[in-house]
Symmetry: D2
Subunit: 144 residues, 4 copies
Amino acid sequence: MDYKSLRTPEHCLADFCLIPIGTASASVSSQIAEVQRLIEASGVKYTMHSAGTTLEGSWDRVHEVIGQAHTLLHEQGVVRIQTDIRVGSRTDKEQTAEDKVNKVKELLATGKEQTDVDKATAVYAAAEAYKAGEAFDNLKAGWA
Amino acid sequence: MDYKSLRTPEHCLADFCLIPIGTASASVSSQIAEVQRLIEASGVKYTMHSAGTTLEGSWDRVHEVIGQAHTLLHEQGVVRIQTDIRVGSRTDKEQTAEDKVNKVKELLATGKEQTDVDKATAVYAAAEAYKAGEAFDNLKAGWA
Amino acid sequence: MDYKSLRTPEHCLADFCLIPIGTASASVSSQIAEVQRLIEASGVKYTMHSAGTTLEGSWDRVHEVIGQAHTLLHEQGVVRIQTDIRVGSRTDKEQTAEDKVNKVKELLATGKEQTDVDKATAVYAAAEAYKAGEAFDNLKAGWA
Amino acid sequence: MDYKSLRTPEHCLADFCLIPIGTASASVSSQIAEVQRLIEASGVKYTMHSAGTTLEGSWDRVHEVIGQAHTLLHEQGVVRIQTDIRVGSRTDKEQTAEDKVNKVKELLATGKEQTDVDKATAVYAAAEAYKAGEAFDNLKAGWA
């Protein structure tokens, strides 16, 4: 396979939590504020929360912005930075950060208890997964 | 040192993102909603956002709740679950998830550009860190 | 549902990366070494790598050890600590950290190119997932 | 400040753990093996372990390779993928993944107990951090 021609995803959600190391102070809020200004200036759609900031955009662009945040703080004297990124991409539909939260909220609003239909789904999915495995074993046997 | 007597932190912030694997469907919102019901019932303080849920409480309690979330979904037929947890503890002050966000927002509100004082801080901290290293080398030399 | 009676998983793999904040020095290896001594003393099975340490054991025990690591460093003057944990549990089989690596290595050894059977699997799984969705829609329609 | 001119770091260590979602099977080793082939072909230096794979190289290149891994699996029918990346950069020295592990191993080999010098360091750093805060307050007072 020609891996070189592979492109990166056109859309992703990347939630990152950046930690400056060796800063002499336990407070990192001024660095985080500086990074927020960079993100604001980047034009990339974002949401800040207490455990990180979620970026939405092309794979290349959102990772470029996070890399720029490292460089920005390095230039201000932070010698070491560690970031945790949770990044997701999907091809079945476009989904924003807001969509994700709303969908869960809807499910919560429609019933405090898990419904029988929900329970049936889980059991059904397990059964399908089992059948898929079995069917695939048959398929493989046919190929061998 | 007697490691056995060490206790876990009395307070922490733990942000987790749980992913059911092998569910036959790419949608995980019904599982996330089920986990939210568990968290609500647990009495632990929490905030949901698009990339996870932040729990606040004792180390043992918040990790127990996340573990219960795994068991809950396992019991419903999800055979494999992977969770990413970002957990922080600090001894210099009590800080809630809300405090963290507010502090950054305040810094952003007080000035769109980084102030000279901010820049001076970064340089100063770097200088202090350097001096600390040098001073410590002297200290070590004295001990040797 | 009675969430309180839920137990945490009996077995899990938890890979963690601990970062001391506000230490005045960018080097964290002495703290990591101290944590390794704690882990060694805990009796929990572990593997260290450049981006973290993987623990294997019951959910409660491995998270207790990581929490003790926070307390240990707090007691030595580190006022703030942030840890990233990747934790997985599964009910379909027992799998050690070593098993996971070996399975991938085997797959790599048996063929440099992905086989036709592998490709068929992916397509088949996608088709099944689609059918499962459709079938479930029918099921839901029946329940409604 | 002109954020646009900021470049991303020339060197970083990025450890990633990729999870295919909605695959109908709980086993992800064939996908991981496929990703390993992509990494091998990329020419980027890497180390595989049970909880992820560590890449070493320029910020742009390592994140491009991880993005290509998403695209590769999407093309094979995996509709949703979630990846956790732990990425670090530092300006004080070049350090490989191997260096990091070796440094901790050395520290472990040279003494089973933490030395008095180590303890003094921690106390000293805490004192310096405190003084830095105080000195900075004086500095700020002078600026005001």
